[in-house]
Amino acid sequence: MVKQTKTSYKSSLSKNNMERESIIKKLQSIIAKVVKLENVKLTEESTANDVKGWDSLSHIAIIAQIEESFDIKFKLRELAKLKKVGSIIDLIIKKQN
């Protein structure tokens, strides 16, 4: 019984990881397009400071693009939390469910 729970937890974890992976890929292409770079490499820990051209001006365009392509809408106070790629992903997943 215990074993079974563990397995299902594990499989949901890996499903979760896959989901995060695919979101990161999508974010990479969105951000690359907005800041006009050929490609952008992101990790969960990346912040605006790690990407050339990702400044407070382009941030707003990036957020608008994320909202459009994931078909979600961030709340005003949530925008302040969108500084790290990991937290952007957290919010996207939360909003999609």
Binding site: S56, R77, A80
Partner: protein, 497 residues
């Protein structure tokens, strides 16, 4: 008597006595007036030990207590600061340093970008108890800051602001209807490279109030909304562009503490400002303040009434001159025009800059001496087109250079924008000109999702003559903003080149 020592420094020193009161809230950390004064003293002592041979020093404009303490220490010791933005390209900052021949830079950053300069690392200095005595012999014409604004030639131009200018400004600001108190919690949402920042930190300090700043890594409008609600902000100056960014979220922001809000830095559209007032800050009194950097922050004021707001093309009137500011509206020959007629606004008085940094050509263009009621007076030519009404209220019409002539017709771009905003009441609109095959074309930008522009064009045709109908329409989801929080028209212009 109005002078920098009495109006500014003595007032500040008096505030340092209210030691336990909060002066700043920066990145969620509070600093008392006593702590601020100890940081100031630490920097003063460095300046006293090795007096700089130059009267102006570079200052890296970080968002921290040492940067603000540096400004005040420089002022008390008689020096001027030249802000260098940490997020602007180093080439631009170095160009400014070169223009002013700057040798010493105050920098609170952990690692400085200025390796070839004498850098005073203010964050490494130990607190010192504040000493109220200071040198009172400093000339009123000494400078307090030099701000570099983008010049049309591509090279930034430096505006010199003196101790006399700042004292005149602070005195006139306090004579407007808006009275700051020590209990106020005030927004400072402007970069230190923009002069509204000086009002936003200096006026609260002179009244013993607390200032809330925006960390550079934050999304400004979202962080501001957080401050307004969480810290119950009572006073703040904002650019209409920031209000416009908040607009889609108006239903998520509500404050009854906000009691006085200044709109400034660009034209204020009535509909936007009324929506901001009614939906988000219903208890506040709103003000429209106008002023070019050359006239020290603001030089006209209008208290926006609840009803019967005076507007021109939907833009709120800029009001009446500040105490001590003399305004003339003149034609091309610098002759005053009749009331109701449009002309260029000229400004005179103690708030007017003594000129641009090392730029005689620009000085000759921008300043003129006119005889007014038998007296010789020096005027700054603002390049802003205005007219006045019977009450003496001044209406802003636009920049002189946005008034264009197409096929002999004089066109005011603001008028086209006004009608576009009627069609898209939720959106910002900017019209720019573009030269194509030796004819001038009108290009319209709308902050809106892409759609078919034909219904709009049909709408415009109902009210505007054919020569005022834009030849090109571009939809942008977000307008770019410059560092001052204004719509960046230069960036828009690039899109059509």
């Amino acid at each position: 008597m109005i002078n920098f020592n009495i109006t500014i420094i003595d007032q500040l020193i008096q505030r340092f006595q209210q030691s336990k009161e909060k002066a700043f809230c920066i990145n969620d950390i509070y600093y008392t007036y006593n702590q601020l004064s100890q940081r100031i003293q630490a920097i003063r002592e460095i300046l006293q030990q090795n007096p700089p041979s130059q009267f102006k020093l570079g200052l890296v404009a970080n968002d921290d207590i040492d940067t603000y303490a540096s400004i005040l220490a420089l002022w008390i010791e008689g020096y001027a600061y030249v802000p260098l933005h940490p997020l602007q390209p180093i080439e631009r900052c170095l160009d400014i340093c070169e223009q002013i021949n700057c040798k010493i830079i105050l920098d609170s950053s952990l690692t400085s970008r200025y390796n070839n300069f004498k850098v005073i690392k203010t964050n490494l200095l130990n607190d010192k108890p504040f000493q109220p005595s200071y040198n009172k012999e400093i000339n009123e014409d000494n400078l307090t800051y030099i701000l570099f604004t983008s010049g049309s030639t591509g090279k930034p131009k430096g505006v010199k602001i003196s101790r006399r200018n700042i004292a005149a400004f602070a005195n006139a600001f306090d004579q407007t209807d808006l009275h700051l108190q020590s209990s106020d919690r005030c927004l400072q949402c402007f970069d230190l490279t923009f002069d509204v920042s000086v009002q936003s930190f200096l006026m609260p300090l002179l009244h013993g109030a607390c200032i809330y700043t925006i960390p550079h890594d934050q999304i400004k409008f979202s962080y501001v909304a957080g401050l307004i609600e969480d810290h119950q902000i009572t006073f703040g100056a904002m650019a209409p562009s920031m209000v416009r960014m908040l607009k889609p979220y108006f239903s998520e922001l509500y404050s009854e503490s906000f009691r006085a809000c200044i709109l400034t830095a660009e034209a204020s559209p009535l509909e936007l400002i009324q929506a901001w007032h009614q939906q988000c800050i219903p208890k506040a009194t709103l003000y429209n303040y106008y002023g070019p950097t050359e006239a020290t922050i603001y030089c006209t004021a209008y208290k926006i009434p609840i009803q019967n707001v005076k507007t021109y093309h939907g833009i709120i009137v800029i009001g009446k001159p500040f105490e001590g500011v003399d305004i003339l509206i003149v034609d091309k020959k610098n002759t005053p025009v009749a009331q109701g007629e449009t002309g260029e606004m000229l400004l005179s008085g103690d708030q007017i800059t003594t000129g641009y940094w090392n730029n005689k050509t620009l000085d000759t263009k921008a300043f003129i001496t006119l005889i007014q009621s038998g007296k010789r007076k020096r005027y700054y030519k603002t390049g802003d087109l205005c007219f006045s009404d019977a009450e003496g209220l001044i209406y802003y019409k636009g920049r002189k250079d946005t008034q264009v002539k197409i096929n002999g017709y004089r066109i005011e771009l603001g008028e086209i924008e006004y009608h576009v905003r009627k069609f898209y009441p939720e959106s910002n609109a900017v019209v720019l000109t573009q030269e194509k095959e030796e004819t001038i074309q009108l290009c319209l930008f709308i902050e809106h999702t892409q759609e078919d522009p034909h219904p709009l064009i049909e709408f415009l045709r109902q009210t505007l003559p054919q020569y005022m109908i834009p030849t090109e329409v571009l939809y942008l989801k977000e307008f770019p903003l410059n560092n001052n929080g204004k719509t960046d028209k230069n960036k828009l212009q690039i899109l059509i080149k």
